[in-house]
Structures are given as structure tokens and as C-alpha cells.
Amino acid sequence: MTAQPQPNTFRMGPDERGRFGIYGGRFVAETLMPLILDLEKEYQAAKTDPAFHAEMNGYRTHYIGRPSPLYFAERLTEHLGGAKIYLKREELNHTGSHKVNNVLGQILLARRMGKERIIAETGAGSHGVATATLCARFGLKCIVYMGAVDVARQAPNVFRMKMLGAEVVPVESGSKTLKDALNEALRDWVANVHDTFYCIGTVAGPHPYPEMVRDFQSVIGDETKAQMQEAEGRLPDSLFACVGGGSNAMGLFHPFLDDPEVAIYGVEAAGHGLSGLNAASIAGGAPGILHGNRTYLLMDRDGQIEEGHSISAGLDYPGVGPEHAWLNDVGRVKYLSATDDEAVEAFQVLSKLEGIIPALESAHAIAKVIELAPDMPKDHLMVVNLSGRGDKDVPQIAERLGSSL
């Protein structure tokens, strides 16, 4: 990918066909096409409607608890002895992760469109919990599709969703994980086109989802920019975020894409390592078409999709948002990866040094900070998106470390 002409801006995409370079698009069955066109029209109208933003900002402040703090991680910084590390505290949001930022936007849009039945897919359960929460808040029917394998390993979140009044449907088809939950949600949508709104949890799927979810998540980067200005009087030098589908990363990155002095790093899940089972679509995959968009996918030589593997159910997806695929190819964002072992180590380091238990997903980003920060000068300002809290992962970590609860 050398010597490509660089665009004047990295923030213009997608084009009118929903493409970021060759990525993105609208690869869906005809039954869904009219719905997707309608959604695009409604979203564009909402996007330019000050009343929509005013409503969203009200709930952001009073229901989610935004802005989330940009916190100087003093002990982690001292421990690593290099870059000055800030954590963007998305785990302090209501429901415990960044997922709620997107769900709020989509649910307000669904209400504008008069849809009363909300469906969602979920991997770790964070998006499912956020969707169930907003549906409870607005009195909407909520159905969450979750791979049967994930239902088993994320029991606390399954129960949370049920408490919130959602119906959780364990998906037994295919590999019984997040990709199959997405398939099943799409099948539901095709069969219930008249009253159903599909609330996708990440910056993937057919246009306009990657753009819309990115826009709703960009509040993370917008706040970070202002907060860093206030704390240090300048831009950060580097940004780190974990990437599964990539919504927390895109939300942090997008407002900084046209600031060339800011180095940007996405961290994929390397699972057992890049030569073994992993979920690093960019590092280990190739361009293909799945779930409505063209992007990097883990697949075999015959184009059959392979299961992702990560200790973190939220990163366990064989694809990645199309805008990430494009940002990789044009070289604006550098994609790294962290193994299961590195993430578990980072999980413990942050818990012990800062008193913050991170989600296993976010721990992947922390792992790369632990690796790279020591070599940076002390005036290097590093921001890592702490996208979720790790309570949901405690049983799994306990088991891995040989403790019984």
C-alpha cells in the first residue's frame, strides 16, 4: 500500500453509494433494500435537524452521564515510565460501555420513524444490554439475538437483558457466535419489515449503518479533543482503541483523522496469536463481502467465512467496519494486535494500578499501551479508549486464573 495518493481529507466518506474506497456498500437482499434506502433518507433528515440533536444531547447528559471523563492515569504512567497516559472513561457511561452512545441515537431515530419493535445482535452482551436499556426507557419491544456460545460465556449480561424486559434469542445456527447472531437478526428483519428497526451495534453492515454508527460514536473523539485541550492545551500525540467491528475506535478516531500530528492505532484481537486462532480481520484477513458490506474478512480460500477467536466475545467477529478497512489501506490508521494472554495481563495491570477493571475488549488496547508507552518521551500524550468496564468478564478471568468464585 505504498505511494497511494492521499486524500485531502479522511473525513468525507462514505460516498453516495456508501463506499469508503472499495469498502462498504449495500450488499443486501432485495427485501431489505427499500428499508435501507428509507433509513438513509430518515437519518439524513435527522442529522440536519437541530431538534434531533437537542433531544439526543439531553439524554446524553442526563441519562448516559456524558461527557465521560478524560482521566490522567498517573500510576500506570509512572509504572511504564514513558508516555503520559490518559484514559477516556467510556466505561462510566450508563450501561457500562460506549455502546449506549450509538443505541441512543438509533433508538431516537426509530422513534422518529414510528418503529415499535427493535432487534439487535450482540456478542459480549454490551450492545444487547444498551439496546435493552433504551428500549425499556422508551417502552419499545426488544429482541436480542446472541450466539448460543456467547450466551453461555456471558451469563451476567444475558440476565441483565432479561431484567430490562428484552427477549434474548440464543442463536444455534452456524458457529453460534456474533456473526451468526447478525445473520439471524437480518433474517428477522426480512420477515418483519413493517414494524421493525434493526439497531446494529457496530460500524459495519450495509450503508448507512457504518456512517450512522460512527456519527453517534464520534462524541467520544469530540469530547476527547476538547478535554485534552483543556488539560494540556494541545492535541494528543497518539490514540489507542480496540477494534472488533470497531465502533469505539471509530468514535475516538474520526474527529482526529485530519490532524496529521496525531498517530492513531487500532488494536485487533490476535487470540492465540496471528498464526493461530484469532479475530484480527485486517492483519489476517482479505477483502470480501459479508453482512451487507465489503471489508476485510477472515475466510478460507473458497470464500467461506471462518470463525473469529478471541478471549473477548466482543472482539470475536470475523470482519471489521469498512471505514477501518479503508483507513488501513490508505495508511492513516495503523492496526496492531494483542493476544489473549496480553489482554489478560493488561486487565490485571490496570485493575491493580488504577483501580479500574477494564472490559477484556478494552484490555487489548491497554496491552499495546503497556508495550509502546515505555519507549515514548514523557511529554508524549497518549489517549486510550476505555470502552467498557470489566465486571462482565470477572467470572471468565477467575476461571482462567484458576480461582473459583
Binding site: R17, G25, R26, F27, V28, A29, E30, T31, L32, M33, P34, L35, S173, G174, K179, D180, L182, N183, L186, R187, V190, A191, N192, V193, A286, P287, G288, I289, L290, H291, G292, R294, L297, M299, R301, D302, G303, Q304, I305
Partner: protein
């Protein structure tokens, strides 16, 4: 470019009946049995064969066709083998049209140009690729047309009159009307509504209209045949394959006969359709 398809529809029409389109998944339950099934279909009364290209993530398909695809993949079916199945079928049958049906990713990974050349050379007549709406025509539809392969589009209950011209624009061979908003093998459609939908489509196109999704029995086939130019049956056939297998998903002596028996009853149903109407 649609010679075999045109001839088949003309033949059915001359006989005063709708055509029967049968769907089977390539490589289900294994490559060799799948070829035997293919060869048995025309003899049992199938006019057109839709051959499913297995994919791990068939998001428009219900449980029956999902399972058939996974069986085929587990037995080692690939896109290369599926194309080879068509080549082998064509050695003995030069008249029955074959439509490949599936999802875009295996084709994209195989290489669009290479796929189209091989498909044409091996005797494929048309393609149905579920996740390529008209908005993505330049991916595969236009290249397919340029090498002489028909691209058959699905029209659905959500395709309104405003959108229909875009859907029909580059469609060749026939139009496939999806009788219910849903996945394959789902609820049985309301036959009166289907009749009205076919009438609506015919206002927009001169192409034959095939109707599928939820057609499970000879009686359903007869009811659809009264209104449509062709009836598509898929899930019921792959279900019959599934029920004929042993405990380890292997073919048994009854696999091919069971499929042939169902198809001959469906063919009889299709032939009753107009007579009853």
C-alpha cells in the same frame, strides 16, 4: 443468451402449464450423490434447476437451506466443485437450464471474471445472487450480462412500483417473485395475494414470472401454478434430502428416489394448476 431458458418457458407455455423450478444445494449430502440428484431432476419433471452454491452465512435462507449448505461444506464442496457439477451434468443434458444461486463472497474471492467465464463455458444459464441488489449492478450483474449469462433478480413484497423498474432493468431470463417478506422455507404465502403480485409484475415486464418461498407441497405448487409462469420449490426438496440421510448425514439408498418422488408429485401439482383454475 437465454436460449435454454426461453425454450423451456415456451415449451411449458405451449403445454398450457407453468414450469417447475427445483432448488437443490450443490454437494448436498456429498458431491457424487448431488450429481445423481441433479440428473434425476429433469426425469422427475423439473423444468429448470436452481443449484445452490453453499455459503457459511446464508442470511436470506431459512433453517433447511442453511443446513443443506453446511452439510455440503462439511462434505468438502467448493465453488470449483460446484462449477464442475454443472459441467458433468451438461455432458448428459444439454436442454435443462441451470441457474446458480448463492451469495457474492465465494464468487468475489474466486474472481468475478474467472467465475463468469467458467460458468458460461460449463453450461450455466443464469445467476441469482441474493446479496447483490440493483445498486451493486456493476459488481457482477453487468459483467455477467456481457459474457452472456442471465442475471435473475428477486422482486419482493417490499419492492414497490416506484422501485420495480430499477429491479427489472438488467434482469434477464425470468423474474423471481419472492412470495413472502421473509427467508426461504418460511410461512406459506397467501395465494390470492401472490396472484395480484404476479399481475402487478406483468404490468412492468414481458419476462416470465416465477414464484417461490414457502411453496412446500404439490397442492401449494398447483395453487401458485394457476397464477405464475413458474413455481420454485427449494426447502421442501432439501428437507427431503435431509430426512433420507443416515445418522452421520451420509446418503442412503433412498436419497435420490425420495427426491425424485417429491419432484414428480410437485410436477403433477404444477400440471394440475391451470386445469383447476
Amino acid at each position: 443468451m437465454t436460449a435454454r431458458l426461453d425454450a423451456r418457458f415456451a415449451q411449458a407455455s405451449a403445454q398450457g402449464r407453468a414450469a417447475l423450478v427445483t432448488f437443490v444445494t450443490a454437494g448436498d449430502p456429498d458431491h457424487e450423490t448431488s450429481l445423481e440428484i441433479l440428473r434425476a431432476l429433469p426425469k422427475a419433471g423439473a423444468d429448470i434447476i436452481e443449484l445452490g452454491m453453499p455459503f457459511t452465512d446464508p442470511m436470506a435462507d431459512g433453517p433447511a437451506i442453511q443446513a443443506a449448505g453446511l452439510r455440503a461444506l462439511a462434505a468438502g464442496e467448493t465453488l470449483v466443485k460446484t462449477l464442475d457439477l454443472v459441467r458433468a451434468f451438461r455432458e448428459q443434458d444439454q436442454t435443462t437450464p441451470i441457474i446458480l444461486m448463492g451469495y457474492y463472497n465465494p464468487i468475489y474471492v474466486h474472481g468475478v471474471e474467472r467465475f463468469l467465464d467458467e460458468a458460461r463455458d460449463f453450461g450455466v444459464d443464469g445467476l441469482i445472487v441474493v446479496d447483490l441488489p440493483p445498486e451493486e449492478d456493476e459488481e457482477l450483474c453487468l459483467p455477467a450480462l456481457s459474457v452472456g449469462l442471465a442475471f435473475i433478480r428477486l422482486a419482493t413484497p417490499t419492492t414497490d412500483d416506484k422501485r420495480l423498474p430499477a429491479v427489472l432493468k438488467n434482469t434477464a431470463g425470468f423474474v423471481y417473485y419472492v412470495s413472502v417478506a421473509g427467508i426461504t422455507g418460511s410461512a406459506t404465502p397467501d395465494f390470492n395475494v401472490v396472484g395480484a403480485a404476479v399481475t402487478r409484475l406483468k404490468r412492468h415486464t414481458k419476462l416470465p414470472v416465477a414464484v417461490g418461498f414457502g411453496v412446500k407441497t404439490p397442492e401449494h405448487a398447483a395453487a401458485i401454478a394457476a397464477a405464475a409462469d413458474a413455481v420454485v420449490v427449494g426447502s421442501a426438496i432439501v428437507d427431503t434430502v435431509a430426512k433420507s440421510l443416515d445418522g452421520e448425514n451420509r446418503a442412503t439408498a433412498s436419497t435420490v428416489p425420495a427426491v425424485a418422488d417429491l419432484v414428480s408429485r410437485l410436477a403433477a401439482g404444477v400440471r394440475r394448476g391451470r386445469a383447476a383454475a
